[in-house]
Each structure stands twice: as structure tokens, then as C-alpha cells.
């Protein structure tokens, strides 16, 4: 798995690429929490995620909870079908704010 963090319209956009599993989710968790420390708007781009397991989902949930405590904005964007399958099985597709694209997400946050 690889990741890329860039700033779009004042939001930190964390793009994940590859498999988010037990091996890689600790890194994802760390990067999401770091982004929330320095930003009030965070978007996670899941378009290139081939696979995400329960530990990866747990990292997303934790970041979501931290953002709510901080009053920050946290959204998922461009969720791949693989990631969406897991999110919907976990019934989290109604919990997260999900946008069809990163642009739509940053536009909605501004």
C-alpha cells in the first residue's frame, strides 16, 4: 500500500493506494490522525483501494470520531467498489460522509 497527502482548497486530502489490511492499517491510522491535527478539513480518497479489512475500517472510524470531537470535517471520497462493499457490510456507509469525488468533497466542506 502507498499513500499521498496533498492540500486541495484548504483540505488535507489523503489518497490511499492498494490494500489496507492488518499489515498496512497502522500507517493509515497514523497518517489520518496526523492530518486531523493540522487541518480542520480532511478527505480520504479511496478510489485506488483494492482491499480494506476490518482493521482499515477501524482506522477510518477512529479518525471520524476524533474529527467530531475536534469539530473538524472528515469525509470519504471516490470510494472504490471493494471499499464500499466492506463499508456497507459494516453498515458504515450511512455513518461516513461519502462524496463521489475529491472535488465534490472539498467543495462541500468549504
Amino acid at each position: 500500500m502507498s499513500y499521498e497527502i496533498r492540500n486541495v482548497n484548504g483540505a488535507a486530502v489523503v489518497a490511499l493506494n492498494g490494500d489496507v489490511d492488518l499489515q498496512t492499517s497502522p500507517v493509515v491510522r497514523q497518517k489520518l490522525l496526523e492530518s486531523l491535527e493540522g487541518n480542520t478539513k480532511v478527505v480520504v480518497d479511496l478510489s485506488a483501494v483494492n482491499y480494506i479489512d476490518s482493521s482499515g475500517v477501524a482506522s477510518l472510524v477512529e479518525a471520524f470520531q476524533v474529527s467530531r470531537k475536534k469539530g473538524a470535517s472528515f469525509a470519504l471520497a471516490s470510494v472504490s467498489s471493494a471499499a464500499m462493499r466492506v463499508l456497507s457490510l459494516a453498515r458504515l456507509d450511512k455513518v461516513f460522509t461519502i462524496h463521489p469525488s475529491v472535488e465534490a468533497a472539498t467543495a462541500a466542506q468549504s
Binding site: D21, L22, D53, S54, S59, V61, Q65, L89
Partner: protein, 607 residues
């Protein structure tokens, strides 16, 4: 009380209130009886009856009754003789008068009292001086001089409990007459009734005490039986005592390595002594099984222990066995017990396993160095039923004995039911609710659940070889960085079955989550062991056997979490259960710590 005053008071008072202490010392016989009529007698009777029913102290009441009778009849002394248990002697259990003869023992066949008891008839010896046959031995011992004597037997129905003897009238000529005897006989009737009531009450109290002790014993005995097992456990048992305590027992004892000891036993005889021998035998089994390797040696050890204690010719029949759920193989020893039945599901036939060892507790050191003979059975998805003769010899509702054919029919009839319910159904076929059985009934079933009953195969040799029908087996270290390999293998196995992309994704996720649990929980993130996975296709079902070599985990601790709660972690089991047709821990083969079996039906091909 002064005689005259008492007499005048009796005359003055209204007749319905008789004097409490009627005086009998009237001047002469004629006056004595005319001055004290039926009402006075009834008064005394009423008074005595009241006393008999008011107190529970037997001795005090008898003593007081004798005092009343003595005073009322104007006598010098009175004594109560009761027949001994053997009926050969009469023993003075209470007396009133100047000399205490309590405890005096006289022959039940001779003398005035003995004859009265034997004939069930009152006796009057008006003047002892006129009777040559009067035995003066008692007088000689006590220094008392008997001049006149009345004896009335204590008769209840056809039984005689003993007699009341009244001695010497005070005043006048000092002699009794026939009317005195009639009066004494009436009073003796009331006394006999009272004594009989006391004895009955005492007996009931004693019986209630015994019943209470029996109930306590029964409760302790129930605690010696194992707790009911959960429905997916391979062994189940039921015990229904005929009385409050049972001579039957059974036990189920899982070992840490997954193997399970079991037994069904029947103590010869019933009641408390059988219950005590049952307690000893079941304790020995539980204790010795923990260190035993084989049922033949275990039952031999129990036999030798039992023989060291003398149980007065009682013995125990027992089937003891060790079942290995992972292989479906069990080894058992039948020591003089009703033959267990192996129900072979492939052929739907029964195989009976007769006793090839004698019952336990009869002869010490009769087995060879290897212990009692052992029978090894491969259940092949079938079941083994072990029961006591309380089942085969039970009376059916039709009236006949159930017999072994009846047992087989019941097992077939209820084969589809869950095991715990099945045992209840079988027992229920011979026991109506609220009715007690003739004999204790115990029934135990061992089920081979690890191997599918349809097309059952021979035991898998340690799961080390790849079976026919298997797609592949992988074995990788249980580390997070190997999960990707496992996902990749799972994808390949799924593609091998021509499954769709989404079907493949779901299976991959389920296997990944299961392996993740092994890495994190079974091995505790220590990366100290391997994960071994078998992918097998049978028809349109893909089975994934995920094995680890860690300590067995308690499946109850692994449950899907409540999804209404949004929090990180705990999702894995939910994801697995959501996408698989079945996912559960099953008994692992030897050498394997845990076996988690995923089953997922392949979708119908869409053209």
C-alpha cells in the same frame, strides 16, 4: 382433698360440670358407685383425652393419666405395662404409687397381667389371698403388699399394646369389684388409643426426617452429574432416577487437548447404599480419567480401587470411553454393561458392542497388564448410544418391555432431532410426566459432528495429506505481512471454481478476517506459529478450513459485535458471518490447535 367435701361438691354442682378430682373414697361399695355416675366417668375420660391431645410429651401424659386413674378409682397404685418389640415381655413403662417399678420386666405369657394381655380380656383378682396362683415375686422384690388387683388390656383393633394394672383399693375392705373393672377397661381403651396415636405420630416424624435426608442426598447426587452440554457439543446425557436417589450415573469430561472422556454406569441395587457406591465410582472416574490414557487401563484402575472397599457384594457395570471429536474415533471398555449401540448413518444399521470385561468391584487384579479389553470404533458421522437397563427394561405405554429393538426404533424415529431434545424424546417414550420409572434411566449419546454424514470418509490421517477434492493447501507463518499472500491464494482458489469477482472478494475478505484473528488473538501478535488453509470443493460448496497451532480458543468469546455502536475494532466476525453460509469452530484434527471452517455456496452460473 377431703372425701366428704368432694362428695358434697359433686352432689351440689350441676351434673354437666363434673369435679376435676372426683373422690372415690366413699364409705362403702353401694354409695361409691351410685354417687358417681356415667357423667363422672365421661368427665374423667374427657379430661384424659384432652390431656393426651394437648401435649406431645409421652412420658408426662402417661404418668398423669395413671395418677388420675389411681385417684379416681380410689386405688393405692397403678402401673402401665407395654409389650416389648419381640412381644415376649411386658415392661413397666410408667407407674404411680408408693413403689416405683418402672422398667420392671415380666413374662408376657404368665401371671395375671400376662394372661389379660394374651386373652385381650380384663382381669379382677378381688382378693389375692383367695388365689393360690398369684405370683408374689414382685411383692417380695418391692416390699409392697398386693391385696386386690385389676388388670385391663390396652386393645386397639386386633392389637394389644399392653395393660394397665391397678392395685389395692383404699378404704373399705380394700377390695375391687366387677364394676371397678368395667371402669378401668373403659379408661384403658382411651389410653390405648392415645399410645397408638403417639406411636404413629413418632413414626411419621421419623419418616419425614428420613425423606428430608434422602432429598439432600438426591441433590448432592444430581450435582455429581455433568452440567448439560451445549447443542453443538458432541456428547449429551440424561439421567432420570426412579426414586429420589439413583444408582445410575453418567459423566462427560472434556480434556484440554479436545478429547472427551465419558461413562455410563449402573450400580447393582437401588436406594441409599447404591447411591453411595455411585458417588464413589463417579468420583474415581473423574479423578483417575485426568491422568489415564486409555479406557481399558482406567476401568481396571477403578475396579481395583472399588475392590479395596467392601460394598457387601454390590458391583458396578460401566461403559467408559474416550472420544476424539477431531477424528470421529472413540475407544471404549464395556465392563458388564448393557451393550452400547453404534448407529451407522451410512448403512442406517446398528452395531452392538457387547461387554468383554466383568463388572467393576467384583474381583481385584483380573485384567492383564494392558487393563480391560478396549474396542475402537470409527463413528464415521454416526452416533454411539450408551444406556442403562432402565431404558431397555422400561415399560412402554403399550404395557410391554421396551427391549433393545424398541430402543433401536426410538433412536431411528428421533434421529432428526437435536441431540439434547432427542434424548428427552427417547426417555419420554417410556416415562409419562408425573409417573415414576421402575428403574433409574440413563442415556448418553456421542455424535461425530466433525465429518459430514453423507458420503463419510475414513479418518483423515492427521490432515497431513491433501485429500481428493481439495483444491489446495497453503501453510504460511501467522504474520500480518503474509495476509496478502493468503488473500491472493484465496482469490486463486475462488477463480479455480469459476466464481464471480464479487463472490471472490467476499470469500477473500472472510478468509482474511479469520486469519487476522489468528494472528492477533490465537497467537497474540507473537508470530510464533503457522496458519494452514485447506480449500476444498464439494459440489457447489467451497469449504475453507483455516487451522492454527495455537492454544484452543473459546468460541464463545468470539462473537459478532453490535453494529449499532460505532467504534473501531470487533468487526471481523460480523464481516465473516455476513458473507459466508456457515462459519464456525469445529473440533480440530490431532496436532491442530483450532479449526475454523468457512462454507460458502458457489452462485448459480449466469450465462
Amino acid at each position: 382433698m377431703p372425701k366428704q367435701a368432694a362428695n358434697s361438691s359433686a352432689a351440689e354442682k350441676p351434673p354437666e360440670t363434673p369435679p376435676a378430682q372426683p373422690d372415690v373414697h366413699a364409705g362403702h361399695d353401694g354409695e361409691r358407685h351410685t354417687g358417681r355416675g356415667v357423667r363422672d366417668h365421661l368427665g374423667l375420660l374427657a379430661e384424659m383425652t384432652r390431656e393426651f391431645t394437648a401435649s406431645s410429651d409421652y412420658k408426662t401424659i402417661v404418668q398423669s393419666a395413671l395418677a388420675r386413674i389411681t385417684t379416681y378409682m380410689g386405688a393405692e397404685a397403678a402401673s402401665l405395662f407395654l409389650l416389648s418389640d419381640s412381644g415376649e415381655a411386658l415392661v413397666c413403662s410408667a407407674c404411680y404409687g408408693p413403689v416405683d417399678i418402672t422398667g420392671l420386666n415380666i413374662s408376657a405369657n404368665t401371671g395375671v397381667v400376662g394372661r389379660a394381655v394374651g386373652m385381650r380380656e380384663g382381669a379382677l383378682v378381688r382378693d389375692v389371698a383367695e388365689r393360690e396362683d398369684f405370683g408374689a415375686a414382685v411383692d417380695a422384690k418391692t416390699g409392697f403388699t398386693t391385696r386386690s388387683l385389676l388388670v385391663a388390656p390396652l386393645v386397639i383393633g386386633s392389637d394389644c399394646l399392653g395393660a394397665i394394672e391397678v392395685i389395692n383399693r383404699i378404704g373399705g375392705d380394700g377390695l375391687f369389684d366387677a364394676e371397678d373393672l368395667m371402669l378401668l377397661e373403659t379408661l384403658a381403651g382411651a389410653a390405648a388409643l392415645a399410645i397408638s396415636n403417639f406411636r404413629l405420630t413418632h413414626k411419621i416424624v421419623q419418616q419425614e426426617r428420613n425423606q428430608h435426608e434422602l432429598e439432600l442426598a438426591a441433590e448432592i447426587q444430581r450435582n455429581l452429574l455433568p452440567q448439560p452440554t451445549s447443542r453443538d457439543f458432541p456428547l449429551h446425557g440424561i439421567n432420570i432416577p426412579a426414586r429420589s436417589v439413583s444408582g445410575d450415573f453418567y459423566d462427560i469430561l472434556p480434556l484440554p487437548d479436545g478429547r472427551i472422556w465419558f461413562n455410563v454406569g449402573d450400580v447393582s441395587g437401588k436406594g441409599m447404599n447404591a447411591a453411595l457406591l455411585m458417588a464413589k465410582t463417579s468420583s474415581l472416574f473423574r479423578c483417575l480419567a485426568k491422568s489415564a490414557e486409555d479406557p481399558g487401563q482406567l476401568l481396571n484402575a477403578i475396579n481395583n480401587e472399588l475392590c479395596e472397599t467392601n460394598f457387601h457384594g454390590m458391583f458396578v457395570t460401566m461403559v467408559g470411553g474416550l472420544f476424539h471429536p477431531g477424528t470421529g474415533v472413540l475407544r471404549l471398555t464395556n465392563a458388564g454393561h448393557e451393550p452400547p449401540l453404534h448407529f451407522d448413518l451410512r448403512t442406517e444399521r446398528f452395531i452392538s458392542i457387547p461387554a468383554d470385561a466383568p463388572p467393576l468391584g467384583i474381583a481385584q487384579d483380573i485384567a492383564g497388564p494392558d487393563g480391560f479389553p478396549v474396542t475402537e470404533i470409527y463413528l464415521a458421522g454416526g452416533m454411539l448410544y450408551v444406556f442403562t437397563d432402565g431404558l431397555t427394561e422400561a415399560t412402554t405405554f403399550g404395557g410391554g418391555m421396551l427391549g433393545i429393538d424398541g430402543v433401536r426404533a426410538l433412536i431411528r424415529d428421533h434421529a432428526e432431532e437435536a441431540p439434547d431434545l432427542r434424548l428427552k424424546s427417547i426417555a419420554g417414550a417410556v416415562k409419562l410426566p408425573g409417573q415414576s420409572l421402575r428403574d433409574d434411566l440413563t442415556l448418553l449419546v456421542v455424535e461425530d459432528m466433525g465429518i459430514a454424514p453423507v458420503g463419510a470418509k475414513p479418518p483423515i490421517d492427521n490432515k497431513l495429506s491433501v485429500e481428493d477434492g481439495q483444491i489446495m493447501r497453503i501453510r504460511v507463518p501467522a504474520r500480518p505481512d503474509r495476509l496478502k499472500l493468503i488473500r491472493s491464494a484465496t482469490e486463486q482458489a475462488s477463480k479455480y471454481c469459476d466464481a464471480s469477482e464479487s463472490w471472490t472478494f467476499d470469500l477473500k475478505m472472510a478468509v482474511d478476517e479469520a486469519c487476522q484473528n489468528i494472528v492477533r488473538h490465537a497467537y497474540g501478535n507473537k508470530a510464533e506459529g503457522d496458519i494452514m488453509i485447506d480449500y476444498t470443493r464439494e459440489g457447489d460448496v467451497l469449504t475453507v478450513d483455516i487451522m492454527d497451532f495455537a492454544e484452543p480458543v473459546d468460541p464463545d468469546t468470539i462473537k459478532p459485535r453490535n453494529l449499532s455502536e460505532v467504534r473501531p475494532g470487533g468487526l471481523g466476525v460480523h464481516l465473516i458471518k455476513s458473507v459466508c453460509d456457515d462459519a464456525r469452530f469445529v473440533p480440530p484434527p490431532p496436532g491442530v490447535g483450532n479449526l475454523f471452517k468457512l462454507t460458502k455456496r458457489l452462485p448459480n452460473k449466469v450465462s
